[in-house]
């Protein structure tokens, strides 16, 4: 995932606010995914990250950042020792 600009006094970015909705809110999975689509179009996230948000769109309780960390861990474990 690419980085986001640091929070500042600027008005909150609605897409970022939606993207960061906490897990558990009813309907939040779709809202996070819809916001991820906006961020993808801006070039702020990759299609792979967008796809992770789509895969969790119907599971409001799932935290996509946790899922992305889990995927990263699995990938790291698969890197062959040199």
């Amino acid at each position: 995932m690419r980085g986001f600009p640091a929070d500042s006094a600027a008005p909150p970015d609605p897409a970022l606010t939606e993207f960061r909705l906490p897990a558990g809110l009813p309907g939040s999975g779709r809202r996070r995914y819809a916001a991820a689509m906006s961020l993808y179009l801006r070039g702020a996230i990759s299609e792979e990250v967008l796809e992770t948000y789509r895969a969790l769109a119907m599971d409001d309780r799932a935290d996509p950042t946790e899922e992305l960390r889990r995927i990263s861990r699995i990938r790291a474990e698969r890197v062959p020792c040199i």
Partner: protein, 395 residues
């Protein structure tokens, strides 16, 4: 505009539509395409979708309507069809989509103004012009707060033009300020849609079939067909209403509605819009109801009751009692619709012979003869030839 629809219909004819028109699947398909899709339908009221992202969705004939309030507060109507594979972009009949609509099939994302935000797995579509894949708009007109949609252009003028003649008598109700009083009601009846409308379109049966309505307003009830397929039924209260508990209690509780002129304070009225919409008005509430063919033998009914914004406890109780009378009437009408529909399948029934008191039915049937000339034929031209015969007779 169809010139004939601009003048009151000729209701000299006492015979109703021929029986075959009530059980022909080919005619039902024609009605869906050439009647329901091309005539204005009430979707609901602006108060049903007060905040951005609020939506209502409903099916009529083979069409799916989605009406929503966008991020700027503007109300928009679309066909409830994802541009990818045609899935419903909203699956429920009402709800809220904060910020965006996400198709539950593959995950295409639409902005609330209907434009496509992006398809799922965007790179799999190559150089896609997203602007060409927004939701398909549906024609929308807002009249005194009620939302009307039309799937395809048709013979009717604007809703405001059609209702212009009764504009003055409905204005005091300030219908644009109404608030929902009940949820949507939604049911299915095992009859042809015309059998429902035939019963609802006349008050000749009230004295026999609806004891409560007869007690409330049976003496002065009158139906009146107006131009453009609009109809008006005025039902002033009987001077001695109150034989029955529900009517007596309603009349005792109901207070003079200060927001209404004197002539509107003691009557119920119904305003119909061809072919299937009704707005019912009482001193305590306004409701709409309508019916759509699901198939030849099954009809979907849909509607909602609204209240006025300032409502005292007494008025609320009176509204409850009025609704109770209305529900009782609805149950009584179901039986009549079923009997009427059964008769159309009987080998012995020669068809309706209609009274002057059934002018609403006669006007409705005349409207159908005009809109779909094939129903003028005494016999079914053959299930495979209904559309063709209609096209020939329309020329």
């Amino acid at each position: 505009m169809n010139a004939l629809l601009s003048t009151p219909l000729n209701t000299d004819q006492r015979t109703g539509l021929p029986a075959w028109t009530y059980h022909s699947p080919a005619l039902t398909e024609l009605e869906k395409k050439e009647l329901f899709a091309t005539h204005w339908q009430i979707a609901g009221h602006v108060a049903d979708i007060p905040a951005p992202g609020d939506f209502i969705a409903f099916d009529f004939a083979d069409e799916r309507a989605l009406v929503l309030r966008d991020g700027e507060g503007e109300i928009r109507a679309f066909h409830n069809l994802c541009r990818h594979r045609g899935a419903r972009v909203v699956a429920d009949s009402a709800g809220k989509c904060p910020g965006a609509l996400v198709c539950p099939f593959h995950g295409w994302v639409y902005n609330l103004d209907g434009s496509l935000r992006g398809p799922a797995r965007p790179s799999s579509f190559g150089d896609m012009d997203r602007k060409s894949f927004g939701l398909i708009p549906m024609e929308l007109e807002i009249w005194h707060g009620f939302l009307f949609v039309r799937a395809r252009p048709g013979p009717q003028p604007s809703v405001a033009d059609m209702f212009a003649l009764i504009e003055g008598e409905l204005a005091p109700f300030r219908m644009e300020t109404l608030l929902p009083a009940e949820g949507y009601y939604d049911g299915t009846l095992p009859v042809n849609w015309k059998s429902v409308r035939d019963v609802d379109n006349e008050g000749y049966h009230v004295a026999m079939a609806h004891p409560a309505l007869q007690d409330l307003y049976g003496e002065g009830y009158r139906d009146e067909p107006l131009p453009h397929g609009v109809s008006r039924t005025i039902a002033p209260y009987n001077r001695h209403a109150g034989r029955r508990w529900s009517v007596r209690s309603y009349r005792a509780l109901a207070q003079p509605a200060q927001h209404l002129p004197d002539w509107a304070r003691e009557r119920w009225a119904y305003y119909g819009l061809f072919p299937n919409n009704v707005i019912g008005v009482t001193p305590e509430s306004v409701q709409f109801f309508q019916e759509f063919p699901l198939d030849t033998r099954n009809t979907k009914q849909r509607g909602r009751v609204y209240r006025f914004p300032e409502e005292s406890r007494r008025q609320r109780a009176a509204r409850y009692l009025a609704l109770r009378i209305d529900r009782e009437t609805y149950q009584e009408d179901i039986r009549l619709s079923v009997w009427s529909d059964e008769a159309m399948r009987s080998s012995a029934f020669p068809g309706f012979h209609l009274s002057d008191h059934e002018i609403g039915v006669r006007a409705h049937h005349d409207g159908l003869r005009q809109a779909l000339p094939v129903v003028q034929l005494d016999e079914n031209p053959g299930e495979g030839h209904v559309a063709e015969a209609n096209a020939r007779l329309s020329r």
